[in-house]
Subunit: 136 residues, 6 copies
């Protein structure tokens, strides 16, 4: 068993808030992250796969194939976008780091398994001081 | 002459666009940075002062004093904010990295000089791949 | 199950030595880390929690609550302190990176569980070239 | 149980290719990494051990002992070398990040266990955007 | 006057040696960097321009235009290449960090000035412990 | 003219205080940095030289020679030491980042010039959030 990880980055705006709550309630729970005018981050994404090394190539899988999946199904949808308003797989979901990790997992789990590898972990860093990891 | 630098961070949303231009023109010049729904960054700010070392303290100035100025006049105004809509000193200014560096310079130049130091450089990094520096 | 991590930093002095040993023995085992005049580090601490995402908030727990615990029970006790002489939860314990990770775990395990999350890992980096991880 | 990690770096040249394949096939699978004139990397190696803390020393093991093993059995063989041509433990093996992690594991597993610790993970980063981890 | 910097990366093999010298002389001066079988690095390149901010766009220049120049004239020629054997602008030049900075400067000075900016600095980092800067 | 920089690291304890002042005065000016029981840092030192490239070697100077000077005259004196008590060139000097940069400059200026290069800058980083630069 070997694990390989690919790092990608994207920049996006978001806002943490619950539409059912009023501004006061949102502010109490989400603090300045609930700013109605949005704020944003340079997100760093780490996608980790596990599996056996292919003795033909020395690769778990070809990272170019992983990169294509991550770019088309995740990065292009998130980069320079508003996560609350524009990202199909985050519609109606509070864009916390936790939910973002889970959402990205669902976007890539199936195509990664079709490459012959298992998705092991989606890690997403929101700032240099906090990150979330999801293992399925 | 000694130079000291303080690093601070803030997260904000912005959009590069010129109100006088239509969406097509904005897209042509600013690309995905002109997204009307905003995007955002983890900005990193470096403020550099120059001056003589105070033989009493071994300090150019007390960094606590610099930190107070930068926090009250820059970070609190930018952190978790929309630069286009909410930041007084960026009103009507395209929030490029260049203009942000110049805007921050103007916010802190005078109070820094009142501390007995000269503002030497404002450097602001927008992503790990680009930054701007302004020397007045 | 989701995992979230909060990063904090602190600066401290310490010395690796065993009072029962003489200087020669301490030097043999601990090398320059046994310097009787102390040395110090910029420590980086990563606290990882695991649990279920709260569907109300999208959070495992509110990181502000975690931050309060870590600040009051760990950072304030360690930052700009001498670990051997001044830190109550390290009294009589050799302040190796391993023991520091275990000591910090004990400081925060109970209050973290009272937040409704499980403490998963305490990771502490002493220099850019070495770190310890404790999983309880 | 505690885990400790030591970070080391080395610079090396390599080429991903399969001698049984012609240039075209190699190019198709390995892309520019198959360049017959070689390319290279600043590799970063993380060796993680697990075990019990020695109550005498506060150490899992003395990192100086681990460092000696890693330096003599891994770094000296790889640093400023051509991995395909000059590294005995990689002879006849495609020098992918995956295979390098496995090769390094085999080099140090036994001597590490003789120190009284268990080798837990060999992680090797080839660029800032990809790394492999091997757990035996 | 404003300064903007773009960061790019490339991986390459090289060897420090002087063809007029024998192996012993080369080893004496260049040490393990003279290995006839090559070694390599993850180079990090920082290109800094200076000029006036365009009041229309808020940009010194559009970084997309700079990026095109740097990619076509520098990165594509160096990335995954052997600097001694394959890079036209380094032919016959010892590929030290110093010479690489000067060579890259010459590659981009004219096209950058045609964009309406002045090339201010080419900085190239060979490892995390050394870098060279050239200001023309 | 070319500039080359060498990065080195060291860990040390220190305390900011003025013996002529009482504890209260020291606390007022230096805050928690005046802790009588010391604290410490992982310092990062950047030494920058300027000069002409030697056409024989492609080097400004051989970094191995610079490294020897910095190791013997700076690192060995500071690493794992108490700057206030044990470092000859800091005797009687408040060990602020500013004074440390100046002290290191004086230690290496002459031997560097004997190598045929000019010392351009000593930069010393105390934490990830502050550093000092001295240009002589």
């Amino acid at each position: 068993m070997i694990y390989i990880t690919r790092r990608e980055t994207f920049n996006a705006a978001h806002r943490l808030f619950k539409p059912e709550w009023n501004d006061e309630q949102n502010l109490k729970v989400f603090g300045k992250c609930s700013n109605p005018n949005w704020h944003g981050h340079n997100y760093v994404l780490y996608v980790t796969l596990k599996g056996e090394v292919d003795s033909e190539t020395g690769f778990l899988i070809n990272l170019k194939d992983l990169s294509k999946i991550v770019k088309s199904r995740v990065i292009e949808k998130l980069d320079h976008k508003n996560i609350n308003l524009e990202v199909d797989f985050m519609k109606g979901i509070i864009p916390s780091t936790e939910n973002l990790a889970i959402g990205i997992w669902k976007q890539i789990e199936k195509p990664v398994s079709e490459l012959g590898a298992h998705l092991h972990c989606v890690k997403i860093s929101e700032t240099e001081n906090n990150f979330a990891e999801y293992y399925g």
